[in-house]
């Protein structure tokens, strides 16, 4: 019974941000803060040391990302483990453990040359044997990872010497390069002979990156301390602490009370609360970066009338995207016209989203044979009214978007009902079975342009990701070609064309891509503003906390 009551309250919970607004506007008087004496805005020279505290909503399951797979795990482990490659601040590849990498003329072989004298945090040398070992783990059938498929395409992996790692593919596979930027290299000498699925190493890892694990207090926090043997040179800040605070409102209170240094903000916090509170602006700097996902309205293309392109386009024209951005995100987002991050090379600059044009929408629907014959404001064809259901999951932004879409579609004569579902039921009952009219969901704005899994017509079986049933032979061919082409410039052309066809076909309506919003205490210096495409975190190793601005720590 206890649980039932809690579930009931959790529904009320979504209003908590509003409640917090009330709370914060109630009491305007602040505590007499000592830290107001400190001026955070003047320049300080870089120096080492200090502790930075952030808050995450979830606790990682473990710190081996290939097994854990949750966002909380990768947020922590990205400071502990290295990959062969990484993305630079403009989202182009650069070497991390690898000094250089070469692609053979037939594009089937990639050879990585490791940097010299790499060391694990425990002092043991890091060699190509560790890389090979990690690849073997990932592709082992006994390893319980959902991420093995990219790596299983490697037909031969070898280590000619301690600094060289070479992989051979049966045929050229462009996303391969991206996959080597996503594989955390694990230490062979500690994991050999262990069961990777439940090894204690997951909670007590040894890596090679800027930080190493200091202490993990279950349910409370993880603290990392600087790794002096880091393969990437030293970081400036001594300790990183991640506290697990599931509730957004509590995180915000902790931020206001100066107990955490940074948190991800909601649009309300960013665009309403901060501007209204000078004492917060005094202590915190706000950052805005490109979001990692876009929200869309997807049609079930196997159902009538969505197999008719005129109906899809009509709906696209009927929806006012700017209204969604202003209403749902308080302006903290932008419209997109392709499934790639705006401003990166994969985004076709010539494409622009469908404009808001209800007259055009009505005309297209008329062409498609829909007329309001009985005068109830809803269009019909062959006596059947144009009425659908939009499915979405419990996500405040998506629910609000659905309501705005509903209203705009009503204006052109389409009757829409909204159904909000819990995630697992949504996927299990509706997406897998293909039992839906329209879905309001999000996809990642992936850094690698390959979206074969989402748009290729062969990917429609239950559990696969082309659940809207999109099928276009030209797109299929482009996606196949894009996978075989490792030259970035040629690849770019392929995906620009792909995005153009996709926009024209309108199998989904791109609604918006929200910004990532971040508040950061001004004691943290050295942050790039405005944020480059990769986001503000790209140079976190150079961030520093000047001594006079440090939080007083409990004496040890």
């Amino acid at each position: 019974m206890v649980y039932m009551r809690d579930y009931f309250f959790s529904v009320l919970n979504s209003n908590r941000v509003v409640a917090l607004l009330l709370v914060t506007s109630l009491a305007a008087c602040g505590r007499s803060p000592v830290d107001q004496v400190v001026n955070y805005d003047i320049e300080y020279p870089p120096e080492d040391g200090g502790t930075m505290i952030d808050a995450t909503r979830g606790e990682p399951g473990g710190l081996i990302t290939m097994i854990a797979g949750d966002a909380a795990a990768s947020a922590v482990s990205q400071n502990i483990f290295n990959s062969l490659l990484r993305y630079d601040k403009n989202l182009e590849f650069e070497g991390e453990l690898a000094e250089s990498w070469q692609i053979s003329p037939d594009q089937r072989v990639i050879t990585f040359k490791l940097k010299p004298d790499l060391k694990w945090a425990d002092g043991k040398p890091l060699t190509s044997a560790d890389v090979l070992f990690t690849w073997q783990l990932l592709t082992d059938d006994k390893t319980r990872t959902p991420y093995g498929s990219d790596y299983k395409l490697v037909i031969k992996a070898e280590t000619p010497d301690a600094r060289t790692f070479r992989v051979t593919y049966a045929e050229p596979y462009a996303p391969a390069v991206n996959s080597w930027a996503g594989m955390d290299v694990l230490p062979k000498h500690l994991l050999e002979g262990q069961d990777i699925n439940n090894t204690p190493f997951a909670r007590n890892p040894v890596g090679s990156h800027y930080y190493k694990l200091e202490k993990w207090r279950p349910g409370e926090q993880i603290s990392l301390v600087r790794n002096t043997l880091s393969t990437q040179g030293p970081a400036r800040i001594d300790r990183l602490v991640s506290r697990f605070i599931p509730d957004e409102a509590s995180q915000f209170l902790e931020l206001m009370a100066n107990n955490i240094d940074t948190m991800a903000l909601s649009p309300v916090q960013y665009a309403r609360i901060f501007p209204a509170r000078p004492e917060l602006q005094q202590k915190f700097a706000l950052y805005k970066e490109l979001g990692n996902s876009y929200t869309y309205l997807g049609f079930n293309l196997k159902r009538k009338p969505f197999n008719d392109i005129r109906v899809r386009k009509a709906i696209n024209y009927a929806i006012n995207k700017q209204e969604l951005i202003d209403g749902v995100l308080l302006g903290m987002g932008e419209p997109v016209a392709s499934p790639y991050k705006p401003g990166t090379r994969w985004t076709n600059p010539n494409l622009s989203p469908y404009s808001y044009d209800p007259a055009r929408a009505r005309e297209l629907l008329r062409e498609a044979g829909f007329k309001d014959t009985n005068g109830d404001g809803i269009l019909e064809r062959n006596g059947k009214p144009l009425t659908f259901e939009i499915l979405t999951n419990q996500n405040k932004q998506r629910e609000m978007s659905a309501v705005l879409v509903q209203r705009r579609l009503k204006e052109v004569g389409i009757d829409v009902k909204i159904r909000v579902l819990e995630w697992a039921s949504f996927i299990g009952r509706f997406i897998k079975t293909g039992d839906f009219d329209m879905v309001l969901l999000g996809w990642q704005l992936a850094i690698d342009p390959d979206q074969y899994a989402i748009w290729h017509s062969s990917q429609q079986a239950p559990g696969q990701f082309n659940f809207i049933g999109y099928k276009n032979q030209r797109v299929d061919r482009l996606l196949e070609r894009g996978r075989m082409e490792l030259n970035p410039d040629k690849r770019m052309k392929i995906y620009h064309e792909f995005a153009e066809i996709l926009l024209e076909d309108s199998p989904i309506v791109y609604l918006f891509a929200g910004y990532g919003l971040q508040a950061m205490h001004k004691r943290i210096k050295g942050i790039d503003n405005p944020a480059p495409p990769k986001g503000i975190g790209h140079n976190s190793q150079d961030w520093y906390i000047p001594r006079p601005l440090r939080r007083t720590e409990i004496s040890q």
Partner: protein, 328 residues
């Protein structure tokens, strides 16, 4: 009790499997990098591809040996108690870590409820329908009706942001591991103040009204009139004769609240960032982490049955009339 437990577990097992989706839809379920084949592989590993009744049989086999299994979630941690692997590494159990925290908060708040609600109830009864009674009733009902998360946020803001009196969330301060035990305990106590207060507030109404009504019933009994008539001091009448009898029904209430002791509140635990049982259960349901759900439900139902038994025994101990009934 054993058939009852099996019945409860069978029904819970069937109900959680009725909900669509399983661990493979919640964990990396919507990541295009995760392929359907690898998800199918996971389903086979966890026996999720077998009929529900076969899965139940497998679960029952394990639970008969008191083996609660390991979580389906990626970390594969033991559900109930810690395990030791061949190298001597100890992995703590999920319930083992969450239970003491929840238990501590609930015992403290139950204690607080008793300490506050008993006097309130007695005063209410003695001043029936007069100002103190009205004021107390109003207070406990407001406490009952007020949304806990809202009050919690207000108090967190007031005691943690506006004034620097109490910590806002969590269980320990930064650097708590370097404190001596006294400072450590004081620090933990400060962290627990608000959560205990919030969870006690909603429980006040029930208990205090129970005491009030119990007292009123008893005060109108003939033997109280007799006691007064034979000139006993009022305090002896109220506390020696009336209260003792009025408290009897409370035994049932406390017996029934034993299973509640291990169930935390999701909302309070989320707001205060406390890793307790409520959050554990809630997350497990959302993740469709069946071993964890079943583990908590089994322990919860076993404790409910145990609570009932204890209440019955306590009744017999406290009330001679019941004892005589049992003897006959």
């Amino acid at each position: 009790m054993v058939p009852l437990l099996i019945g409860i577990s069978l029904i819970s097992f069937l109900i959680i499997h009725l909900a669509p989706g399983d661990i493979t839809t919640t964990e990396a379920g919507f990541d295009p990098k995760a392929s359907e084949e690898s998800r199918q592989k996971l389903r086979e590993l966890y026996n999720l591809d077998k009929p529900v009744i076969v899965q139940y049989g497998l679960w029952l086999q394990r639970i008969a040996k008191l083996d609660f299994g390991t979580s389906f979630a990626s970390h594969q941690r033991p559900v109930f108690w810690r395990t030791k692997d061949k190298d001597g590494n100890i992995t703590p159990g999920m319930i083992q870590e969450a239970l003491p925290i929840t238990l501590l908060i609930n015992v403290l708040s139950l204690g607080l409820i008793i300490v506050i609600a008993l006097p309130l109830g007695v005063v209410s009864a003695l001043t029936q329908n007069r100002l103190p009674d009205r004021a107390i009733t109003l207070f406990v009902f407001v406490g009952f009706a007020i949304p806990g998360f809202w009050l919690a946020l207000l108090l967190m803001y007031w005691t943690g942001v506006v004034n620097d009196w109490l910590p806002i969330s969590g269980l320990h301060s930064q650097g708590a591991e370097h404190m001596n035990w006294l400072a450590y305990a004081w620090d933990a106590l400060k962290h627990l103040t608000l959560p205990v207060f919030i969870s006690a507030l909603s429980g006040l109404a029930g208990i205090s009204l129970f005491v009030r009504n119990g007292m009123l019933d008893v005060l109108h009994q003939d033997y109280i009139t007799t006691a007064r008539a034979k000139g006993l001091p009022e305090n002896t009448v109220v506390y020696g004769h009336a209260l003792r009898n009025a408290l009897l029904p409370l035994i049932t209430i406390f017996g029934l609240s034993i299973p509640g002791l291990i169930g935390g509140s999701v909302i309070a635990e989320s707001i205060f960032a406390i890793p307790g049982m409520g959050k554990l259960f809630y997350d497990a349901v959302l993740m469709r982490d069946f071993p964890v759900i079943m583990g908590i439900l089994t322990i919860g139902s076993a404790l409910t049955l145990l609570g009932n038994l204890l209440a019955d025994l306590a009744y017999a101990w406290a009330d001679p009339r019941v004892r005589r009934g049992v003897m006959q």
